[in-house]
């Protein structure tokens, strides 16, 4: 497993390099001009444009900029934003904690919702709960985050405040202080809505996946045998059925954790959270290459890490699965 892990890590580095190089190239290929975007409707005198280009090193040939980027990266310097001269390292430092907390709570809520809905639907197959679960799963997946986020703000923020039910007002500022890194100690309500919006999109898909996986496992002989041996339904469900049904679900959950990043980008924007997601979106629109590239490195590395963890977790969930270093090839 050690050799496999090392090989996968090396592969991940290659992926990061290739992706960043591709994105770097794209910034030069696609039409657009970040400096003109800065100046908006008013034209800047050519001498002022020259000053700005010199400041960011944009007056140098592309290949010089490319090697300078990697040189700075190896020294731990991701450069400065074209938009507001802020260090990309600072932007990452500021945004990463918020995004990580949002992802943590989103993933946790996602798991809870998916397990609750998936299990209920499978156990009470054909019941009202199952049907409602199916409707929820299909319905929620079709709603874009920009809509569900704003709807949540209205239903659990604007409306309660205006009718005087402030206890139901969950649209509050994002918490500022945290204990143990992830537990909000002020304005905990401000965390709930964004995390739920992140959670529900893929929770619906995972719930459906869990339901169908469970139903398939429940038809297996060993489940019938377990019941015939007189084991309690709870024990059969949790120890025999659920564990086996989890293999495909874990795969989906791992993929979902990467996809959730995309959902978080939109959620952070809709809720204006100080995370990396909203920064990526804003920076991409203003062609702020240093910020996008810096954040992309983190996102790609995160994706590679999650994939690795998912692969390794198979062996933990199902001892029959062995990790083989040759499988890398």
């Amino acid at each position: 497993m050690f050799t496999y892990t090392i090989k996968r890590l090396l592969q991940s580095l290659l992926v990061v390099w290739a992706a960043v190089t591709l994105m770097f190239a794209l910034f030069f290929i696609i039409p657009g001009d970040p400096i003109s975007l800065k100046s908006g409707e008013k034209s800047l005198p050519p001498e002022i444009l020259d000053n700005i280009e010199r400041k960011y090193g944009l007056d140098k040939p592309t290949y010089v900029q490319y090697f300078r980027f990697w040189g700075n990266l190896f020294r731990g310097d991701l450069g400065y934003s074209y938009k507001n001269d802020k260090s990309v390292n600072t932007i990452l430092h500021d945004g990463l904690s918020t995004s990580a907390r949002l992802l943590f709570w989103g993933a946790l809520f996602q798991l809870i919702i998916a397990l609750a809905v998936g299990l209920t639907s499978a156990i009470k197959r054909g019941s009202l709960g199952d049907r409602l679960g199916t409707v929820f799963s299909v319905g929620i997946q079709g709603i874009p985050v920009f809509v569900s986020g704003l709807l949540a703000q209205y239903l659990f923020g604007v409306l309660p405040f205006q009718v005087g039910w402030d206890w139901l007002n969950f649209f509050k500022p994002w918490p500022q202080t945290w204990t143990l890194g992830v537990i909000p100690t002020d304005s905990w309500k401000g965390m709930i809505l964004p995390a739920l919006v992140v959670a529900v999109v893929d929770a619906a898909f995972i719930a459906r996946m869990l339901r169908s996986s469970l139903l398939e496992v429940l038809r297996a002989d060993y489940i019938r045998t377990a019941f015939a041996k007189g084991l309690s339904a709870r024990r059969v469900w949790l120890h025999h059925a659920l564990r086996n049904a989890l293999i495909p679900v874990v795969t989906v959950y791992g993929t979902s954790l990467i996809a959730i990043f995309g959902v978080a980008v939109q959620t952070e924007k809709v809720f204006s959270l100080p995370g990396m997601g909203s920064t990526i979106a804003d920076s991409a629109l203003s062609q702020d290459a240093p910020v996008v590239l810096g954040l992309a490195i983190v996102v790609i590395a995160f994706g590679a890490f999650v994939n690795l963890v998912v692969d390794l977790s198979y062996a933990l969930i199902d001892p029959r699965i062995k990790i083989d270093a040759k499988a890398v090839h």
Binding site: G40, K42, P173, S272
Partner: protein, 539 residues
């Protein structure tokens, strides 16, 4: 026992404090805090450093932190902020500002004429690469400094700290200099900020100004972050009525409005298309027409719509455009129909300078017929060019429909919102070109010269308009020290471009609209779109 003794001592001290300065203490304690969710509703400002900011929202915060020599009040009047008076000699080529005494920066340092020299040296330095450094080009020798080709022109900006005067020598006669110098790039700085880089604004303790507020918390994050300002204890003017202003940064206007409507803030922005609904609900105290104009211009070099031979076609198009429809449907009355390029509030403004004030369909049809009668054929659909993604497609669609009523074929010509639209228009790629202008300072020249003078072709003169008559009128106004003569020349120049040559069609004057919580009783906005936070009254 000890506790009791301390308690008694505290009570005695409190009684003494109340007896000595009770009124002051209680007045400060009563000053409310204010949470603003509208200023940065569309994202983090570019900068809040007055030397660097090039956006209205950034400049609004900067002007709360820094007082310049002059400023414009909520009624549009120019007044001395740090300057007590100003005089000119040798025909507006040299200006002498006399500064008020005993003014201080928030760190206690005195505001002196040399503070302005230091500020200008920093702001206009080519190394700082400020986007707004070109405003210094009015000063003799400053262009060389701001472009890195020369040293700071010390002989053009002379401070006399004893006499409290600042003497500025201009490149050319500049009658409007007292208004131009109100721009935030001309702010003073304390000695601690001499040579400071652009990073200074990231640390709230280092961006030290002389305005009514000082920075308590700088920008630390993008969306979701906040900027906090508190009253400057050393401010020489009237103390703000608020104990603190918190600017929350949003990246989505809808979310910013929802934050306001759910009780998080004292004001909020109005999402597109909801002006009527929300202004009816929250009131119109936060609505003001400001010094900006939207227009559609004609490419002067285009064979179909440009030049003197196609004046009748341009005239037909100008008369066909329904400004009221654009104002009502797109802006729900917040942006009012424009009757000229200069907006109301600019000194020398006169209504009705444009070809039309509303729509003249019959006139449009008659002019178009005359143009065809001259031997012209029905043109291929005329392109209405605009930068996509900012809602201009809706305005362009209305105009296309307006022109169809006259029989003039037209079509939308969107350009990607990637910053290249204006450079393409500057190089003559458009036919009918979407443009807009917001005043940097409240003077007519700030509209007419950059937008229409032949020297600004390749710059903001997107139409590539080249008229000797127009240039002569603007040049004579610029060099005149007689205010009424200059204003009359600017008015004649506006008529020349809009009525005689019909080079552009002003559609609406810009406006700002903010929703306010009922607790906000006074919310002054200057014609430059700046909210005067130190005069906001809450409660």
């Amino acid at each position: 026992m000890k506790v009791q003794t301390l308690g008694k001592s505290a009570a005695v001290l409190a009684a003494l404090a109340l007896a000595v300065g009770g009124t002051v203490v209680s007045a400060h304690a009563a000053a409310p805090a204010y949470i603003d969710c509208q200023n940065f509703a569309a994202g983090e400002p570019d900068h809040i450093d007055p030397a660097l900011t090039s956006t209205l929202v950034g400049a609004n915060t900067a002007t709360m932190l820094f007082d310049g020599l002059t400023d414009t009040d909520a009624n549009g009047n120019l007044y001395g902020e740090v300057a007590s008076k100003w005089t000119t000699k040798d025909g507006a080529k040299t200006w002498v500002f006399t500064l008020k005494k005993n003014l201080k920066f928030s760190n206690g340092e005195a505001v002196l004429p040399s503070s302005f020299v230091n500020g200008w040296k920093r702001a206009l330095d080519s190394k700082l690469a400020s986007e707004v450094a070109y405003h210094g080009d009015f000063i003799a020798g400053m262009n060389a400094y701001s472009t890195g080709k020369g040293a700071f022109p010390a002989s053009s900006v002379v401070a006399d700290d004893k006499a409290m005067t600042l003497t500025v020598k201009m490149d050319n006669p500049t009658a409007d200099w007292p208004a131009i110098v109100s721009h935030s790039v001309f702010s003073p700085i304390p000695t601690s900020m001499v040579g400071a880089t652009e990073k200074v604004e990231e640390d709230g303790t280092k961006l030290v100004g002389n305005g009514p507020f000082m920075l308590e918390k700088a920008i630390t994050k993008r969306a979701g972050g906040e900027v906090v300002i508190v009253p400057n204890p050393n401010y020489g003017g009237k103390t703000p009525l608020l104990s603190k202003v918190t600017f929350k940064i949003f990246s989505d206007t809808n979310a910013a409005y929802n934050a306001f409507a759910s009780g998080q803030c004292d004001n909020g922005p109005i999402p597109a298309g909801r002006y009527t609904e929300l202004l009816t609900k929250w009131g119109t105290k936060g609505v003001k027409t400001v010094l900006g104009t939207d227009y559609w211009g004609f490419n002067w070099e285009d064979p179909t719509v440009g030049g003197t031979k196609n004046k009748l076609l341009r005239s037909a198009i100008a008369k066909a455009i329904d400004k009221n429809q654009i104002s009502e449907i797109i802006y729900q009355g917040v942006r009012k129909p424009a009757s000229g390029l200069l907006p109301p509030g600019i000194p020398g403004y006169k209504a009705g300078q444009g070809l039309t004030q509303g729509r003249d369909l019959d006139g449009a049809k008659a002019d178009y017929k005359k143009w065809l009668d001259l031997g012209n054929k029905t043109p291929a659909p005329i392109r209405l060019s605009y930068n996509d993604g900012a809602g201009w497609d809706k305005v362009a669609s209305i105009i296309v429909a307006n022109l169809k009523d006259v029989g003039i074929p037209a079509k939308l010509d969107p350009f990607a919102a990637d910053g290249t639209y204006f450079s393409k228009m500057r190089s003559g790629k458009g036919q009918i070109i979407r443009g807009g202008w917001f005043a940097d300072y409240p003077i007519a020249d700030n509209f007419l010269y950059p937008l229409l003078h032949s020297k600004t072709i390749d710059g903001d003169n997107l139409e590539r308009y080249n008229s000797k008559a127009f240039d002569a009128l603007v040049d004579s106004a610029r060099s005149s020290t007689n205010k009424s003569f200059a204003q009359s020349q600017y008015r004649r120049a506006e008529v020349q471009a809009l009525r005689n040559d019909v080079v552009m069609v002003p559609t609406v004057n810009r406006g700002v609209a903010v929703v306010l919580a009922p607790s906000t009783s006074t919310f002054p906005i200057t014609p430059l779109g700046m909210i005067v936070y130190d005069q906001i009254v809450k409660g």
